[in-house]
């Protein structure tokens, strides 16, 4: 029979059992017990903290953040800060993660994990020198641990110091020859350092000794692609996709490279979500680093229609594929009505929301969002989003239906000759024939005002050509 337990012993036992389950790597089981412990009146900070840890290990970072906040509101200590830093980083809250990691380091300067996390945050924020300094400290304190040299190598790699990174990766690799993950990074670094041949040699050497893994074949594909060996690259991507069937990005790359059979006329929603969710926190930095210039050119085209900051306002704007809100930020001086953003990626939407510019953000596929919308807009933006669509008629028709009479649409495409008007590229994006775009705009009742062929950005050594255009409904 059940013996009546006092609330205190119940709480203690829930905590104990939860801690045991967490230690036994059963975080989802632990989370159930700890959520009960945390729901008890006067639950201690530890209950919330352990719950946060369990949720984080069960891949539920949003819930983990709530629990970590609750724990820290009861007790501010270094371990909880470190935990929340991990959670925030997983959620793409880069600044918050860095604050927490820094607080943890200040509270316990000897904690190497805290230091490593702070260094990771710094590295991801592009503060390479500080990151390298911290990783170096951790490495010197524990030189025999392969992950310390691998992390320092990663920071070197991010900072563009590929030769130093190679030395450190080689060291890590020699200490842990079978550790998964080091070799793909090492090959990636060599490739970034400009030596695809050596990258290939490293990977092929490893494949002779160990079973294949997706990451190795993925880097092999990139190296082959760099050397212009499209067929071999396609094979490598296909192998990578086969080895990791859950990675939709690899599936898409493989499909793109094979270029055979019927390509879908639109990238799958899952693909778009996955790629950007994984990328959201570094998206802008990456775009600027790549020389991305669509927002700037679009701004010029729009200004050419007589809109100026503090002067004539844009009215209601619909930003389709708003991403992190780059266009919103670019135009926000000349808004004057509503700014509605639509994106498929919840992470992107979160980052955009943090900018505080958008009147409304919708997490949806853009055709569906337009179909559900009844409002009309003065300006619709399609910045770097049509590359995820093959055929453009449906999307441009829907855009026209959302424009007020005389309303504007600003858009960009990646351009190139394409039989039938569009084709899927090896980069896994669609490119469109400029002639096809003009015709599609016309079919949608949109009169072209501006049509600029531009270099959109650089990828490796190559440039990506494109068109940035402005059109008006009903001429």
């Amino acid at each position: 029979m059940n013996i009546h337990a006092t609330p205190d012993t119940t709480a203690l036992r829930l905590l104990d059992r939860g801690r045991d389950l967490l230690r036994d790597r059963r975080p989802a089981d632990a989370a159930l017990l700890l959520s009960r412990a945390a729901s008890l009146p006067a639950a201690p900070a530890e209950a919330h903290g352990l719950l946060a840890e369990a949720l984080m290990e069960s891949d539920d970072a949003p819930a983990a953040l709530i629990a970590a906040d609750a724990a820290l509101s009861l007790r501010d200590d270094a371990a909880l800060r470190l935990l929340r830093a991990r959670i925030r980083r997983a959620l793409g809250h880069a600044d918050g993660a860095m604050d927490d990691a820094a607080a943890a380091v200040m509270a316990t300067p000897s904690d190497r994990d805290a230091k490593a996390l702070l260094a990771t945050c710094l590295s991801e924020a592009g503060r390479h020198d500080e990151a390298i300094f911290l990783f170096h400290q951790a490495f010197v304190a524990e030189p025999e641990a392969p992950h310390r040299s691998a992390m320092l190598a990663m920071a070197m790699m991010r900072g563009g110091r590929h030769a130093a990174a190679e030395e450190l990766y080689a060291l890590a690799h020699s200490m842990a020859p079978y550790a998964r993950g080091i070799l793909p990074l090492r090959a990636q670094n060599v490739l970034l350092g400009g030596d695809p041949h050596k990258a290939i040699a490293l990977i092929e050497g490893a494949l002779g000794r160990q079973q294949g893994e997706a990451a190795l074949y993925s880097v092999l594909g990139q190296a082959r692609q760099r050397l212009g060996q499209a067929e071999a690259a396609a094979e490598a991507y296909a192998e990578a996709a086969r080895l990791d069937p859950t990675d939709t990005y690899l599936q898409h790359l493989a499909a793109a490279m094979t270029n055979a059979g019927a390509t879908p006329d639109r990238a799958s929603d899952r693909y778009v979500t996955d790629v950007f969710d994984g990328y959201a926190n570094r998206f802008e930095a990456a775009l600027f680093a790549l020389g991305y210039r669509v927002p700037g050119v679009m701004l010029k085209l729009i200004e050419g229609q007589g809109y100026t900051p503090g002067g004539r306002h844009l009215g209601d704007v619909l930003d389709l594929g708003c991403g992190t809100g780059l266009m919103g930020a670019t135009l926000h001086d000349m808004l004057g009505g509503r700014l509605v953003g639509v994106d498929l990626s919840p992470r992107m939407i979160e980052v955009a929301r943090a900018k505080g510019i958008y009147t409304e953000l919708r997490c949806a596929e853009i055709n569906e969002a337009m179909a559900a919308d009844t409002a009309h807009y003065d300006l619709v933006l399609l910045s770097d989003v049509l590359c995820y669509f093959g055929r453009l008629d449906a999307v441009l028709g829907a855009v026209a239906a959302r424009l007020k009479p005389g309303g504007l649409v600003a858009l960009s495409i990646e351009s190139g000759e394409a039989e039938g008007g569009w084709e899927l590229q090896a980069s896994a994006r669609y490119r469109h024939d400029p002639g096809y775009l003009r015709a599609a705009l016309e079919r949608a009742g949109l009169a072209t005002l501006e049509f600029r062929e531009e270099t959109l950005r650089w990828e490796g050594e190559a440039t990506v050509p494109g068109v940035i255009a402005l059109a008006r409904l009903g001429g």
Binding site: M1, N2, I3, H4, A5, T10, R13, L14, D16, R17, G18, L21, D24, A28, D29, L32, L33, R36, S39, Y178, R209, Q210, Q211, E213, R242, L243, D244, P245
Partner: protein, 754 residues
């Protein structure tokens, strides 16, 4: 009062302790009282009762007989006699005891309950309900009776009344876990799955810290096959009510299903301490010890269960598994016979028979297969092939709990990887998902991967298999742990094939059309011993994936040591008396030679000590015998560097062990027997071009061992080139095997009944 002893102090003190619930402390005092005055009826009765309450049923019988003799008019000795018989599964004797108690005390509640329990077990649900209603009249506040009545009402198709009884009980603070279990059975019977789930979720939301409500929810989740989520709730319930038997039992069984044996053991121990008369807990405890390779303790625990609760099929069958693992094949055979039933047939075919020299003949195995097939042919659920649009590719299902680092994985992966994709679509039905590099490769090849939660009901497995509209289904687990080959008797595909995975003999499963084999495993003429048709591969019957991190082949140790070291890294189950005496002959003829054995069972101290005694009795020189327990796989491979030559056991020969030995450069000497498992080594050796290492009898085994050991240069040369030879042989030729497997599957498909 009857026969009051002169000095009543021990008895009086014992009664005082019993009143305080300190049964264990009272026991020595009661024993002293009975020793002093053997005819003291009340002391004997109390001693019997105390022993029964502590689960020492065997020891209770003596004092109980005294009590019956001395206190013939007292109801309690008769009730206890009935209870003892009941616990031991003797229904008739149990009824007599209970009825005798009721004659002496018509209001004997426990006797009424005992009769009710018997009635329910016999399917007389209404009679059971009537008895429990009567018991409840005498003892209206008894929660245990109320719950039993509720259970009886569910069985009697009265779930509404059952709920009316369970609901108020469940609403009480401190309600027992059993109340939740019974409530969930009643609500499921009345509301169906969706309604039961909704009701349980609502109740739980209103009362999130009630262990009984959580137990109810866990029971429902288990019933729905969501056993992971079920286990989560058992954990929670246990944290809230750590002394509740129903909850401990739910948690223990949940952990067992997840194969979390280490975690399950202490939970079983706690549950058994609270309810030593509960057979499922006792046997479960024994089986967990077995899974943890604590073989001697497992055998002790199961023997104690047999002594206390008498024999039943499951207890004997589990004990047989333990005994065979200890290398006690004959004892295992006796336990198998004692078990009887379907378990005995499966053991004869799979778990015990192939290891036992007398049971492993073609005749005996064939007979067991036919007997099992006949038994499993009852109650077959008709199969209607699912029509699906004809495609070019054949859809092949693989049913297994072992796709990963497991002998099944090592011996089938290259074949599955190289099965031509343009011709075959592969759907995997995974009964236990594994996370390791081999498992990842299986996942990579599968076109679809369907996972079952541990403990999924057979019907669910069958429905899911059938829903995939397979053309061919291959079983890769057999009757082994976690396997569901039995389900296939109902048929889930037009063509069903048995392949690796407890493939030690014919499966004996009705509707299993083919057995994948080769000409060494089953030469022409072997057909009558198999209930399946034989689908012979042109090379071996399986294809070995060598580990990618194997240590290099070490130089022949005899060259440095100056003496030969033999080794056998097979299960102790395979080491029979004949094997021991054969090895003893070899060692006697080579006075400097040594023998190294290495396997799990030898890590269990009592098992190892008993083995040494046996080995000595067969004339083994113990000073030249080296015994080791299990080591991690890479260390096991490295340990082949310590031996010159592998001595294969018989009649159950090495399978994966032979492949690994060869890969590590160590040739294997084998004696060929008749059964499928008696020929694995022959098949592998023939495929790497070493058929002369397989011999027909014990004399030639001894002679060949001596001859090989005498020629070290030849051994050294063979060793140096063996890995390359194996790598280049059909044994490791995945592309070749994959193509041939494709042809064989096509052949089986073409030959299907129209």
């Amino acid at each position: 009062m009857d026969g009051l002893p002169g000095d009543a102090s021990a008895f009086q003190a014992a009664l005082a302790l019993l009143r305080e619930g300190r049964t264990r402390d009272a026991l020595p005092l009661l024993e002293a009282a009975v020793a002093e005055v053997p005819w003291h009826g009340l002391a004997a009765l109390n001693l019997a009762m105390a022993r029964m309450d502590l689960g020492q049923l065997d020891a209770a019988a003596g004092p109980l007989a005294t009590a019956l003799e001395r206190l013939p008019h007292h109801p309690e000795p008769h009730f206890r006699r009935g209870r003892l018989a009941h616990l031991r599964g003797q229904g008739q004797a149990a009824r007599q005891g209970y009825e005798a108690a009721l004659v002496r005390d018509p209001g004997h509640v426990a006797a009424l309950c005992g009769l009710a329990e018997l009635a329910r077990a016999e399917g007389r649900a209404e009679a059971s309900v009537a008895l429990l209603r009567e018991a409840l009249l005498h003892s209206p506040q008894d929660d245990g009776i109320t719950l039993e009545l509720a259970r009886g009402l569910v069985a009697a198709n009265e779930p509404g009344e059952a709920l009316a009884l369970a609901v108020p009980l469940l609403a009480r603070e401190g309600a027992p876990g059993l109340a939740g279990v019974v409530w969930s059975e009643a609500v499921l019977a009345r509301e169906g799955p969706a309604g039961a789930r909704a009701a349980s979720e609502a109740a739980l939301a209103a009362d999130p810290l009630s262990p009984a409500r959580i137990a109810a929810h866990a029971t429902l989740l288990d019933a729905f096959g969501q056993t992971r989520e079920g286990l989560r709730h058992w954990h929670l319930a246990e944290a809230l009510a750590p002394e509740d038997v129903a909850i401990l039992s739910g948690l223990a069984h949940g952990l067992w299903r997840e194969r979390a044996y280490k975690a399950a053991l202490p939970v079983f121990e706690r549950a058994v301490a609270l309810a030593p008369g509960e057979r499922s807990l006792r046997v479960g405890h024994g089986e967990i010890l077995f899974r943890l390779h604590r073989l001697a303790e497992a055998a002790d625990s199961l023997r104690a269960t047999l002594a206390d609760l008498g024999g039943d099929e499951r207890t004997h069958a589990t004990l047989a598994l333990v005994l065979v693992s200890q290398g006690l094949q004959e004892e295992a055979r006796l336990a198998t016979e004692a078990a009887g039933g379907e378990n005995a047939l499966v053991h004869a075919l799979c778990n015990v028979g192939p290891y036992h020299p007398a049971m492993a003949t073609s005749e005996a195995l064939g007979e067991a297969a036919r007997a099992l097939k006949q038994r499993l042919s009852q109650g077959i659920n008709p199969y209607v092939p699912v029509a699906r649009p004809p495609g070019e590719r054949l859809r092949v299902g693989l049913l297994s709990s072992n796709l990963g680092r497991h002998p099944v994985g090592w011996l089938t992966l290259p074949a599955i990887e190289h099965l031509p994709r343009e011709e075959f679509e592969v759907v995997v039905f995974s009964l236990t998902d594994r996370e390791d590099p081999l498992a990842r490769r299986f996942r990579a090849r599968a076109d679809r991967w369907i996972s079952f939660e541990p403990g999924a009901r057979d019907q669910l497995v069958l429905d899911r298999l059938r829903a995939e509209a397979l053309d061919i289904l291959i079983d890769l687990s057999g009757h082994g742990q976690g396997g569901r080959v039995r389900v296939l008797r109902h048929r889930a595909a037009p063509v069903q094939i048995k392949w690796v995975g407890s493939q030690s003999a014919s499966s004996g499963v009705p509707n299993m059309d083919w057995m994948l084999t080769d000409r060494w495993e089953t030469p022409a003429g072997f057909e009558p011993h198999y209930t399946e048709r034989l689908l012979r591969m042109p090379d071996g019957y399986c294809c070995y994936a060598p580990p990618d991190r194997a240590p290099d082949v070490a130089p022949l140790p005899a060259l440095a040591r100056g003496h030969v070291t033999f080794g056998c890294y097979n299960n102790l189950a395979k080491v029979t008396p004949a094997v021991l005496s054969t090895w003893a002959r070899i060692l006697a003829a080579l006075p400097t030679a040594r023998l190294v054995l290495r396997t799990h069972a030898l890590g269990d101290d009592p098992t190892r000590a008993a083995f040494l005694t046996r080995a000595a009795a067969f004339g083994m020189p113990l000073d030249r015998l080296e015994l080791h327990g299990a080591v991690p796989h890479e260390a096991l491979l490295a340990a082949y560097g310590e031996i010159d030559l592998s001595l294969d056991p018989f009649p159950y020969t090495g399978g994966l062990t032979v492949c690994e030995s060869l890969w590590m450069g160590v040739p294997v000497l084998t004696k060929v027997s008749e059964g499928f498992a008696g020929r694995h080594a022959l098949s592998h050796l023939s495929n790497v071009g070493l058929p002369d290492w397989a011999v027909p009898d014990e004399d030639s085994y001894v002679a060949e061992a001596l001859r090989r050991a005498a020629d070290l240069p030849a051994l050294a040369e063979l060793r140096a080139g063996l890995r390359a030879r194996v790598a280049a042989s059909p044994l490791c030729d995945g592309p070749r095997f994959g193509r041939n497997l494709g042809r064989a599957l096509r052949q089986a498909w073409e030959a299907r009944p129209a």
